[in-house]
Structures are given as structure tokens and as C-alpha cells.
């Protein structure tokens, strides 16, 4: 009997490992080895052409005096702090509007969603042209309005260090369709009876949103917020395409991942790039932990028993 049990158990184990073989190999080749190698490289000077030279922790120490590191960190923080919450707010607002069940809801939903599936490089190239200070649509719209208000010329956008980041933030808002769909799905699960009871009790629309809708969809808000934050730290393609990889003008769009990429594949400082990557990992971990901690009291999980 015992041998038969262990025989089936062994068979099960063999089958399990067989079906999972792709990911087991994948974890070894594309995770375990590269993680170890990355840790090692981060303590070396390495240009791929020549073998790595051990330098201990000096790459990490060098970070403190690296102006571009701090600059890229500041740019990324600016983007994360402004674009991410703004994106959540816009997505939530659109989802609530769509949830009003007006006629043609599906059509409006499509209009809001389509920009989010435009290929990244295509929307980035489009954005440069849209925000062209001379011939772009944005300034074509702004110019008469600003002139009317006596506010002078519209901004130079990607030609002006002060306006390049706002242009990129507007780009990010254009693509909130994905988050909007997540919120819209969540809104359908908010109990109708609760809303109606509150309405009967005379709760105003804002209070119903604040005390019923938002708590009910708080898990999805947290999810979108965290994904947005992680995305902000890894923000790369639009910044690279819109500035041809320079992060210009005057490093105003040099975001963390763009800087990291340039260190690795333009300067071929692979060791330093790995150190930057580990710091990135640490930052994402800290930021996520911070959001989880500070939101714990505000996130409501249905059936959890606590509010």
C-alpha cells in the first residue's frame, strides 16, 4: 500500500514538474542567474567588451555625488506625485460619468478607451507633433484663448524645460482608459440598495460618492495607484521617443529608467547601471510599502468584516 501511495505521489510530482518545466527553466535562466549576476555586476566596473573589475560598493557610493541620478529621481518623483493621482482621479471621474447609464454609454466608453490602446511609440510621435509650439494642435487651440485673456504666447512645451513634463503628464492622462475600465467594472458591483437607502435618507450626491462608492471600490483604487506608481518608476518609452533619448531639454524629462538605460546602453557602464537598477527595486519596494501602510485603514474589502 505504502509503495503504491508513494508511487502515485512520485508520478504526480514528475507530472507537475513536467508541466511546470517552462517556468522552472525560465526562472533559472531569466531570473535566478541574472539576479545573481546583476548583484555581482553592481559591484564591478564593466563595459561588456572587457571582463568586469571588482570595485566593491563604490558604484553605490558614487550615486550620492551623481547629479543626473538626483535629477532623474526628482523628475520621476514629480511625475509620480502629479501624474499618478491625477490619472486615478480622471479615470474615476470618467467611470462615474459613464456609470450614470446615459444613452450611448458604450460609444462614450469607446471614445475614452481607444487612446489607451494606441501603440506607445505612435502616441509619443503624435504627441511631439501635437505639442509642436508653432504648428501643433495644442497651441493652435491655446493661442486664441490666451490672446483673448491677454496672457501672451502659449508655452513651448518640449522646447521649454518648464513645460516638457506637463506635456508628458497630459500624454499620460490621455491614456487612462485602462484604469477607467477597471473602475467602471468595480462600480457595477456597488450595491444599488445602499445607494438608494442613502438617497432616501437625504444624503447628497457628494456624500454618497464619498461614503459609499469610494469605500466600495477602494481595493481597485489601491490597485491602480500602485500599478501607476510602479509604472512611473519604469516610465521610459514616451520620454525616450519624445526627446530622442536625451531626456531634454536640459534633463527636464530625464526620468529614472531613461537615465538607467542611457548609463547601460549609451555609456556602456553596465556595473553602474546594475547598481541603479537595484536602487530602483528598493525605491519601488519602499513606495509600495508606504502606500499599503498608509492606505490600510481606508481600503475596504467586502466580506472582510472591517471597514
Amino acid at each position: 500500500m505504502a509503495t503504491r501511495v508513494s508511487k502515485t505521489a512520485r508520478r504526480q510530482l514528475r507530472l507537475g514538474l513536467l508541466f511546470c518545466a517552462p517556468v522552472i527553466l525560465g526562472l533559472l535562466i531569466f531570473m535566478a542567474y541574472p539576479i545573481t549576476a546583476s548583484l555581482y555586476y553592481s559591484c564591478t566596473r564593466y563595459s561588456v567588451m572587457k571582463p568586469p573589475v571588482w570595485v566593491g560598493l563604490s558604484n553605490y557610493q558614487q550615486l550620492r555625488h551623481d547629479e543626473l541620478f538626483w535629477k532623474s529621481l526628482a523628475n520621476t518623483a514629480y511625475y509620480a506625485v502629479i501624474a499618478v493621482p491625477l490619472g486615478v482621479a480622471v479615470a474615476l471621474g470618467l467611470a462615474m460619468l459613464l456609470n450614470l447609464k446615459v444613452r450611448g454609454q458604450a460609444l462614450y466608453r469607446t471614445f475614452f478607451f481607444v487612446p489607451s490602446i494606441v501603440p506607445l511609440v505612435a502616441s509619443s510621435v503624435l504627441w511631439i507633433w501635437l505639442f509642436n509650439p508653432q504648428n501643433g494642435a495644442m497651441n493652435a487651440l491655446l493661442r486664441p484663448i490666451l490672446a483673448h485673456l491677454g496672457l501672451g504666447e502659449p508655452p513651448g512645451w518640449f522646447a521649454d524645460p518648464a513645460w516638457a513634463k506637463p506635456a508628458i503628464i497630459l500624454w499620460s492622462l490621455w491614456g487612462v482608459g485602462g484604469s477607467m475600465v477597471i473602475f467602471l467594472a468595480a462600480l457595477q458591483d456597488v450595491p444599488k440598495e445602499l445607494q438608494e437607502a442613502a438617497e432616501v435618507d437625504g444624503a447628497r450626491a457628494w456624500h454618497r460618492i464619498r461614503h459609499i462608492t469610494i469605500p466600495f471600490i477602494s481595493p481597485q483604487i489601491l490597485f491602480v495607484l500602485i500599478m501607476g506608481l510602479i509604472g512611473a518608476f519604469q516610465f521610459f518609452t514616451p520620454a525616450y521617443v519624445m526627446t530622442q533619448g536625451t531626456g531634454g531639454p536640459v534633463d527636464s524629462t530625464l526620468f529614472y529608467s531613461l537615465y538607467l538605460f542611457n548609463v547601460a546602453f549609451a555609456d556602456f557602464k553596465m556595473g553602474y547601471a546594475c547598481a541603479l537598477a537595484w536602487i530602483l527595486f528598493l525605491l519601488i519596494l519602499l513606495a509600495t510599502a508606504f502606500i499599503f501602510k498608509s492606505s490600510a485603514r481606508h481600503v475596504y474589502y467586502a466580506g472582510d468584516g472591517k471597514g
Partner: protein, 284 residues
């Protein structure tokens, strides 16, 4: 107008219905302006497009930017490269992830939960951490400047897609496969003939995501491809833009051509898209 009911069946007040429509139409216009600008720009002559102040309506309407733009860069070559990568990525992702998800969700063996947690854990790690060593690895075996580094990894599973498939496979009743097992079906038969046919929604969603990710991918091709004939559409468009930004008409025509297939796919597979995205948001 008074007939538009909300889900509780009560009609929306006509005045609020109208104001909701006004707001929704204004917002829709805002979201659509960039796309309208993209298409109208591509239909303008080179002279009109650089006029100041800019004009909104193409006059005369011309399609010359399309043939010009598509021959100015080796467009069909880029399309072929991109399609090759996309097809291989979709195939690799579906095969590897469904196999692994089956092993995690439908087979009882010690270590399956541990493996699942490890897989989920890797999602925390930004890919920048492994980017350099993986590049060095591909460089050592001489695959830099080929399409292989953009294809091979897809055959080794993807944490997120494995997660989605596993959750889906768990919802299929165990009795179903138990009965097949008693009838003498092998695990491979069950995977092939029972689980996969029942999982079409999740397979479609994952396939679609994998396709979009490869079609969109920019950093991958940027790292690995140097020879212009191996460029993907994304890489080709970006380099076209940086070198010939002074031909906005052609640039917008090519951008339109790259964007339109995705929008068409969206309209054909709208349900899959929305399902897939909500699937990802559900776990909260």
C-alpha cells in the same frame, strides 16, 4: 430622453440626462482631438501642414503622404519583423503559460504552491534588474542583432499571464477532469481536450495582451536590434521621427498606419479586451 433608465429602472431626470450628455460629449471631443489631428495631418500637403497659424481641415485632401511615407522607410520589412515577433510571442506565451498554469492548478504535487509564490514574487522585481545580465547572456551566444532575444523569453512563461490562467483553470470543476482520469485519459489529454477548449476566454485575453505587448515593445528592440533591416515598426517609427521630424505629413501617415490595425483589432475583440482588463483589476 426621459426614457433612459438607470439600472434600478428609474428614469433619469431629463435635465440631468442632458447635462450628462453635454459633459460626456465635451470630454469625448477632448479625447478624440489628438486622433483627429493625427489623421487630418496625414491628409495635408507638405505646404499646408507647415502653415502658420495651423489649419484644421486638409485643403486639398491628399493621400500622397501614405505611399511616400511607406516607401521612405522599409515599412514592409518592419511589418514583417514585427509580425514575426508578435506571432512567436503569442504562440510561446500561450503554450508555456497554459502548461504551467495546468501544472499549478490541476495537478496535486508537493511544491506547487511554493512555485506559485515564487512566480508571483518575481512580479515585484523591476525588469531593469535583470536587463543587463540578460543582454550580456544573449551577447555571449551571439544573438544580439537578431530577433531571437525578443522571441525566446516568451517560451518560458510570464508570471502575470500564468497567474491569470491559473485562476481561470481553478474555476473549472475538478469532477470533470476526475471523470476523464477514471476513463483512462492522460494528463496531456485532459489539458489538450478538456481544459484548453474550456478556457478560450482567458487564452484569448492573454494572447491579445501578448500580441499588444510585442507590437508596442520599444525598449526590447532598442536594446537588441542595430541593423536597420531588423527593426520593428516601433523602432522604425521612432528613428524615422528623430531623423525626419521635418516631414510631419509622412510621419503622421506612417503613425496612422501603425495605429489603425490596433484600433481595428480592438473593435473586433472589444469584449475580450474589456474582459481581460477587468480580469486584471479584480484581484484588487
Amino acid at each position: 430622453m426621459a426614457k433612459t433608465p438607470d439600472e434600478s429602472g428609474r428614469p433619469m431626470h431629463p435635465a440631468s440626462a442632458i447635462s450628462a450628455h453635454v459633459v460626456l460629449i465635451a470630454l469625448s471631443a477632448t479625447f478624440l482631438v489628438p486622433l483627429i489631428w493625427l489623421i487630418t495631418s496625414s491628409l495635408k500637403t507638405e505646404a499646408q501642414i507647415l502653415k502658420f497659424p495651423p489649419e484644421w481641415i486638409p485643403n486639398p485632401i491628399t493621400i500622397e503622404n501614405y505611399p511616400k511615407g511607406l516607401t521612405f522607410i522599409p515599412f514592409w520589412r518592419y511589418l514583417l519583423n514585427t509580425s514575426t515577433i508578435c506571432a512567436a510571442a503569442v504562440l510561446g506565451t500561450i503554450i508555456s503559460c497554459s502548461l504551467v498554469a495546468y501544472g499549478l492548478a490541476r495537478l496535486r504535487w508537493p511544491g506547487r504552491n511554493l512555485l506559485f509564490y515564487i512566480i508571483i514574487g518575481t512580479m515585484m522585481l523591476p525588469f531593469q534588474v535583470t536587463m543587463v545580465p540578460v543582454f550580456v547572456m544573449f551577447a555571449r551566444i551571439g544573438l544580439v542583432d537578431t530577433l531571437w532575444p525578443l522571441i525566446i523569453p516568451h517560451f518560458f512563461g510570464n508570471a502575470f499571464y500564468i497567474f491569470l490562467m491559473r485562476q481561470f483553470f481553478l474555476t473549472i470543476p475538478m469532477e470533470l477532469t476526475e471523470a476523464a482520469r477514471i476513463d483512462g485519459c492522460t494528463e496531456w489529454d485532459i489539458y489538450r481536450r478538456i481544459i484548453l477548449p474550456l478556457s478560450k476566454p482567458v487564452l484569448a485575453a492573454v494572447g491579445l495582451f501578448a500580441f499588444m505587448a510585442s507590437w508596442n515593445d520599444y525598449m526590447g528592440p532598442l536594446i537588441y536590434l542595430a541593423d536597420e533591416h531588423k527593426y520593428t515598426l516601433s523602432l522604425g517609427l521612432a528613428s524615422f521621427s528623430s531623423q525626419y521630424g521635418s516631414y510631419p505629413g509622412m510621419l503622421m501617415a506612417v503613425t496612422t498606419v501603425i495605429t489603425v490595425p490596433i484600433i481595428v483589432i480592438f473593435f473586433l475583440a472589444q469584449r475580450t479586451f474589456i474582459q481581460g482588463i477587468t480580469l486584471t483589476g479584480i484581484k484588487g
